[in-house]
Amino acid sequence: MRARRLAVATVLLAVHAAPLLGAEKLQLNQASAEQLTALGLTASQAAQIVRYRKENGNFLQVEELLVVPQMSRETYDRLRDKVTVDE
């Protein structure tokens, strides 16, 4: 039981912390609201990104984030190097 909890914690840490550690960028088209929040977005901003993706399809460029409601230029500048889009 303890080992299982440790494994779950390790997975969660890897998922949420990897982008922050620069190990790998977060895939914008697969990211959950929780993962986006872990990058520093507010819950509302993260929810807007997920909603935008559902309504308009996958992001075609990271720059497309700029047309998501509630996405300011400042927030985008903080986020753009932490996410990527499958090409």
Binding site: G57, L60, Q61, E63, E64, L66, V67, R73, V85, E87
Partner: protein, 131 residues
Amino acid sequence: MRRHLVVAAACVLLTTRAGGADSVTLTDPTTEWQNLYGAILYAGSATVHNNGGAPLRAVKVRLELFDKDGKPVAHADGYNLGGERLNDDPAALDAVMPIPAGGTDKVRVSIDKTEIPRPFRTATLTVVEVK
């Protein structure tokens, strides 16, 4: 209206390749994602310069998107502002306002997101026809 702009002039390459287009140049290129009342567009704009010695009726410009391997992803054509009527009525050439010799005009071309089938990395604005 919610409209966010991103200037990505660095990834816009300008070329002229159409016959008669040697006397035309494009400057101040920008590309940007736009959200126009919920319609998501990728738009390019520039200034058209008529460097020749005679007026031009219209200049057709192509916005083309390329993936990371340089393969074309999507494109759209459009006329300079004075000739935009030609987008709907190609036969209305005599009705458009010409660009005088040495003059300039704006051009804007956009592609609806639904017409872009996959991610892209770069965009070009190219003169494809001069009338």
